[in-house]
């Protein structure tokens, strides 16, 4: 033993001079929590009254509605994405499209679940498609944009409902057709303005087509809706 230590002594002689030696693997995890200001905000928003939270969220949703109605190339819709707006629009549209169109027990009109599933399943498919085509947008950002761009179609639904109150005739059909066509092209244009920037330039058409199809299907559901007598 003593001989070994005698031999080791020169090796370890300068050990106290260095703090870390290569022979000793230093491992472990150092996680420094990044104290972001939002964290502080969240801590403090727990204590605020519910009315403030709801109003703040509603204001954010309203601001995004304005962005959709006047689609300029702004990134705020993408930056602070949220899914409240799409949920509100989806539920409103589904509720208005309910209530069938037939005498009798069989429900012909799209049910709430059907519309809901179409909108969300369609959005998911379009998002996956745009990601697979090389898009730089994230999953939830894309869902957010697609959901918010349903706003013109919801407005068209309200208008159609009002027009149908006056009875269904040729004139009302033509009016509804025009309204739905305008709003559907508005929706497609608005979502393209947000989504197309995240795609490589030569593939924009490949991304726009499913969006066009998606809003076309929703527009078609709105157009062919006739309320029960």
């Amino acid at each position: 033993m003593a001989e070994v230590d005698e031999g080791n002594r020169p090796m370890f002689a300068g050990l106290s001079d260095v703090s870390i030696s290569e022979d000793i693997p230093v491992e472990g995890e150092i996680t420094v929590p990044v104290g972001s200001p939002s964290q502080d905000d969240e801590c403090s928003t727990l204590d605020e009254p519910v009315k403030d939270t709801v109003l703040r969220d509603l204001k954010a949703v309203g601001k995004k509605f304005v962005h959709v109605l006047y689609p300029k190339k702004s990134s705020s819709l993408l930056r602070d994405w949220d899914l409240w707006g799409p949920l509100l629009l989806c539920v409103t549209l589904a509720l208005m499209l309910q209530g069938g169109s037939e005498k009798g027990k069989d429900d012909l009109g799209p049910q709430f679940a059907e519309v809901f599933v179409i909108i969300w399943f369609g959005s998911v498919v379009i998002t996956l498609n745009s990601k697979l085509l090389g898009g730089t947008i994230s999953f939830f950002q894309s869902l957010c944009v697609l959901g918010y761009c349903i706003l013109p179609l919801t407005v068209a639904m309200v208008v159609c409902r009002l027009v149908l109150l006056g009875g269904s005739s040729k004139v009302s059909f033509i009016v509804r057709l025009i309204v739905v066509t305008v709003s559907f092209s508005w929706s497609t244009f608005a979502s393209t303005a947000f989504l197309a920037d995240s795609q490589p330039p030569n593939r924009r058409a490949l991304v726009v087509y499913p969006v066009f199809l998606f809003y076309f299907v929703i527009g078609w559901m709105i157009l062919t809706f006739s309320p029960s007598p």
Partner: protein, 341 residues
């Protein structure tokens, strides 16, 4: 015995450094227990006891290896089981390992990047492939090139769903068990996936050189003809027009698929089986789509449907007839003007 203590006093490292035990050569690689920071869960007396025990062992046995083992055991023995630091460390490590496994599995299976190469297309390529799907190729002695791409087929299936929906609405189809949308999606996707798998299975039996991806792609592009025919005939309701379109357009797209398959199969009987099946399924599907969701020809259904109401019940709807009657009228007048010339 006093030597290690003296050495400890000169130790300035916060982490209880390399004790001078090693340097001074007390002949052991024992980690000095009293310098360890994690003392939770183990009482001071235990540590002292362990230390004492170790020193006795160190004196008794001078083999470095044995003392190293004892040292390691001593480290473990010094903790009080699960409740102590050991338990916490083990739990932590189990958690980390589990998290690593889960994220590895997630990255493996939920990774859509697996599908990314199949969506790597340009719009001009899609357009060319759509046009080519209607043009049969004569070369059947050498394997024809089939593009393995999924974007075009998927978009075509969704387009077919949209067209079907339109057809179902205008024909006033009522689906009792289920929904219109569900039926349309189920029909189209079921056809695409189901028939592709079936033909792939037959191709495997008949020893044809085709992969599943190529089969999906081939059949998907073959649906382009279906989309065109249905789009036209759901709006213009002439039976003779439908039959002509069914033969011409449906036939062309079927011929394209069939010739691609023939070029990859050897032998008369396998070729016959494979291509006969595909042609039959493809043409019959178009026929089914047209007639199942077709606008009622009045009188026929009245005679067919007696008191029994079939599950797919056709009820006349209060639908705007403007568009359809407009188009019908236009085509009729065009036909009349053409005949009169």
């Amino acid at each position: 015995m006093s030597v290690p203590e003296a050495n400890k006093n000169t130790n300035t490292e916060a982490w209880g450094g390399f004790d001078d035990n090693l340097i001074q050569g007390t002949g052991s690689a024992v980690i000095d227990m009293e310098n360890m920071d994690d003392t939770s869960g183990s009482s001071f007396e235990d540590m002292g006891e362990m230390h004492q025990r170790m020193r006795e062992e160190e004196v008794a046995d001078e083999a470095a290896a044995t003392e190293e083992d004892t040292g390691e055991d001593g480290e473990f023995l010094g903790m009080k089981g699960i409740k102590g630091q050991l338990g916490r460390q083990v739990a932590d490590e189990v958690w980390q390992a589990g998290k690593r496994q889960a994220s590895k599995a997630f990255n493996l299976y939920a990774n859509i990047d697996i599908l990314r190469p199949y969506f790597d297309v340009e719009p001009i390529q899609v357009r060319n492939r759509l046009i080519e799907s209607m043009i049969p190729v004569r070369m059947i002695n050498f394997p024809q090139k089939i593009a393995g791409e999924l974007y075009g087929p998927m978009m075509l299936v969704f387009t077919l769903v949209a067209i079907l929906l339109h057809g179902m609405k205008t024909s006033g189809t009522v689906i009792r068990e289920g929904t219109l949308m569900g039926t349309a999606i189920g029909t189209c996707f079921g056809y695409w996936m189901g028939v592709s798998s079936f033909i792939y299975f037959l191709a495997y039996l008949c020893n044809a050189q085709i992969t599943m991806l190529q089969m999906l792609s081939l059949l998907g592009y073959g649906l382009f003809g279906h989309c065109v025919v249905l789009f036209v005939t759901y709006n213009v309701h002439f039976h003779s027009l439908f039959y002509i379109l069914w033969l011409v357009i449906g036939g062309l797209s079927t011929l394209r698929m069939v010739s691609a398959l023939i070029s990859r199969t050897v032998g008369q009987t396998p070729r016959l089986i494979l291509c006969g099946t595909l042609a039959a399924l493809h043409m019959l599907f178009l026929l089914y789509l047209h007639f199942a969701y077709h606008k009622i020809v009045e009188g026929i259904l009245d005679t067919l449907e007696g008191p029994n109401v079939p599950p797919i019940q056709r009820v006349a709807r209060d639908l705007p007839e403007v568009a359809t009657s407009l188009i019908n009228g236009t085509v009729k007048s065009l036909g009349i003007s053409l005949l009169s010339q």
